[in-house]
């Protein structure tokens, strides 16, 4: 009994354990790894991915997928930059609103027209990216520096970057919604068995609708942070964000088949992937190895490979006999 128990514990806390080990490794090896500057810059940069991954986590828990988050973030950054001269809050609202619009269309395509999430969000990925390019006239849009819009991404609050605060707050909200509201429990129910959920009388379509809407809104928020952090709305940013988010969610132990998932582990997954890069950069700085930036995606892929195989091994223990060929 102890061995399977140990393995299942490893399955749920493996990502947190790996994260701690990685941080300990960095702490022991590099001088400035646990320094204020490094910590705040890692958090500031990764908060965008954290927001996108949170939305992705909810979508995946319902058994769906949202491939449009990257270009939605790009669209959000362009719209926010265009609206930023009107004031910081209006810029923020416009960016999130643009994200919500994309999320709304995704939700309608998936729940009303019954188009597979994969196809619907793939199409919206193209549409959002095209719209962003049209609005921005194929170039990056400078934000207004007078209206205070840039402080959303660049300033600190109680010594902590504002984007990190935003990310932490949304994760707390996400955690509460998932664990303590009927909609949140419904998300897992829909992902576990959609037909059974319907037969029990739960509003499966409404839950799915909300999840895609939320994912769009969070991607728009990530776009706002992108624009204010880098001082420009960037229509071609966000390429591959959806895959980073999916990787973070998978690393966090959320099953892509839906029905199982954790908000906290997703955050750990985002940090793990983010800090992995940070460690690589420090290692390059040490001079022992010199890996070009191109190695990062190879290592990211390898990492995902290991996690996915481990996950498959762990989950196959619980299920019926796995056939070999």
């Amino acid at each position: 009994m102890t061995r399977p128990r140990l393995i299942s514990l490893l399955g749920s806390y493996g990502v947190v354990l790996a994260l701690l080990l990685l941080i300990l490794f960095g702490w022991a090896r590099y001088d400035y790894f646990v320094g204020l500057f490094n910590i705040t810059s890692v958090l500031r940069y990764n908060s965008m991915f954290a927001l996108v991954a949170l939305g992705m986590c909810f979508v995946i828990m319902t058994g769906g997928i949202d491939l449009s988050v990257g270009s939605t973030a790009a669209l959000g950054s362009v719209v926010a930059a265009l609206a930023s001269p009107q004031g910081a809050w209006i810029g923020l609202g416009a960016g999130v609103g643009a994200g919500l619009c994309v999320g709304l269309i995704n939700a309608i395509l998936v729940t009303r027209l019954k188009i597979m999430p994969f196809v619907a969000t793939l199409a919206m990925m193209l549409a959002a990216s095209g719209t962003a390019l049209l609005l921005a006239d194929n170039q990056s849009v400078s934000v207004s520096y007078e209206s205070g819009f840039t402080s959303i991404g660049q300033d600190n609050f109680i010594g902590f970057p504002i984007p990190a605060w935003i990310a932490i707050m949304t994760y707390v909200v996400g955690w509460v919604v998932l664990n303590f509201t009927s909609t949140g429990r419904g998300v897992l129910a829909v992902g576990g068995n959609e037909d059974a959920t319907r037969l029990m009388g739960l509003p499966a379509d409404r839950i799915k609708f909300l999840v895609y809407l939320a994912s769009g809104g969070l991607a728009g928020l990530a776009g706002v942070i992108l624009a204010s952090q880098f001082g420009a709305g960037q229509p071609i940013e966000g390429v591959g964000w959806e895959l980073f988010a999916i990787a973070a969610v998978v690393v966090g132990g959320t099953l892509l088949t839906g029905g199982v998932g954790s908000v906290g582990a997703t955050l750990a997954g985002v940090l793990l992937l983010g800090i992995l890069f940070n460690v690589l950069n420090f290692e390059n700085g040490k001079g022992w190895i010199s890996l070009s930036a191109y190695w990062q995606s190879v290592i990211r892929g390898l990492f995902l490979l290991v996690v996915v195989i481990l996950q498959a091994k762990l989950s196959s223990r619980g299920s019926v006999a796995v056939r070999d060929y």
């Binding site: 019954k114 793939l122 549409a127 390019l133 895959l243 892509l256 070009s292 490979l305 056939r323 060929y325």
Partner: protein, 331 residues
């Protein structure tokens, strides 16, 4: 069986959705061509035909492999990255950067075989992950989508490789009986795949696996083997497409070769009428789907609509095609 049901079997009433699901792509293509004859200047020229055919070729070659993968109920996101790997490897070999080879013909042959073979091996790796570990195709191929382009960039150190080797570039620039070589290649691949899917046992097994995997397994089909082969074919197709792209460009840029190709290929398959959930596939449909998307883009660009707007239109077409297909299936 009730009487009404029997009657329906004998004479099915005309169902517009079913009709559109069957012939919609063909009609759309015909309408597009007519529209262009009427409104686009210089449309009815050999040059227009050539431009469109050469641009659609690589998409079709990749989409043929993608059709087979999707027919088994899977997906292959790694095709663009595999194109980059094959496109990065081939020049390294025929330019003699790895091992100097004296004979040009020999070097080019080795480059083609090795580059396409390596792409095929990566495809096999995808299939292995999916068949052996039962990892969902979207995740399994996501790994090489991320890592594959990185591998190509690491191989070339991110540098542009330029070359002028007519023997190699024949597959992108040469002509057979006046027809561009890559068009001949595309037609041959389409015919071979269509024949395999319709007329061979293996083709029927692909459809069976996509229709109902469990039932296919119980009826004695080696499901794992079918998946391994299908993903390998997809990898090989991507490898060939990568060679064609770099041959046309006379250069290979690992950062750009095959970028976004997975989306174009999936779109072509979806618009062509292959069910994305698997179990029904048409290679000719994929060919028509790719041509439709290409022609829509050409029509918009030729009439002064910006490329970004063409993206939005493409998105609309994909959604519409899949929606019509689903309505047709429901009845």
């Amino acid at each position: 069986m009730t009487d009404t049901a029997r009657q329906q079997l004998i004479s099915r009433p005309f169902d517009p959705f079913d009709f559109m699901a069957r012939y919609g792509t063909l009609i759309a293509l015909a309408l597009l061509i007519l529209f262009n004859f009427a409104f686009t200047r210089n449309f009815a020229t050999m040059q227009t035909l050539n431009v469109n055919l050469t641009q659609v070729c690589t998409i079709v070659i990749v989409a043929v492999g993608m059709t087979l993968v999707i027919a088994t109920g899977g997906i292959d996101l790694s095709v663009g990255s595999l194109m980059a790997i094959s496109g990065a490897l081939a020049p390294m070999i025929f330019l003699g950067k790895i091992v100097p080879i004296g004979n040009v013909a020999l070097a080019v042959a080795a480059a083609m075989i090795i580059a396409v073979g390596v792409a095929g091996l990566f495809g096999l790796f995808n299939g292995w992950l999916i068949a052996r570990f039962r990892i969902q195709p979207i995740v399994a191929t996501l790994i090489l989508f991320i890592a594959g382009r990185g591998i190509a960039q690491v191989l070339t150190n991110g540098n542009l490789q330029t070359f002028r080797v007519p023997q190699f570039q024949w597959i992108g620039l040469g002509r057979l009986f006046g027809i561009p070589v890559q068009v001949v290649l595309m037609v041959l691949l389409v015919i071979a795949a269509a024949w395999m899917l319709k007329r061979t046992v293996f083709g029927r097994q692909i459809i069976a696996v996509g229709g109902n995997e469990r039932a296919a397994e119980l009826s004695g089909i080696a499901v794992s083997r079918v998946k391994l082969v299908v993903y390998t074919i997809s990898g090989l197709c991507a490898g060939i497409a990568g060679l064609v792209v770099i041959a046309i460009n006379s250069s290979s840029d690992a950062n750009l070769v095959g970028m976004g190709m997975e989306l174009d290929a999936i779109a072509a398959v979806a618009v062509g009428g292959t069910l994305l959930s698997g179990g029904k596939a048409t290679i000719i449909g994929t060919l028509l789907g790719a041509m439709t998307i290409q022609l829509v883009r050409y029509t918009l660009l030729a009439n002064g609509v910006p490329d970004a707007a063409a993206l939005v239109v493409k998105a609309g077409i994909i959604v519409l095609a899949v929606w019509i297909q689903q309505q047709g299936r429901r009845t």
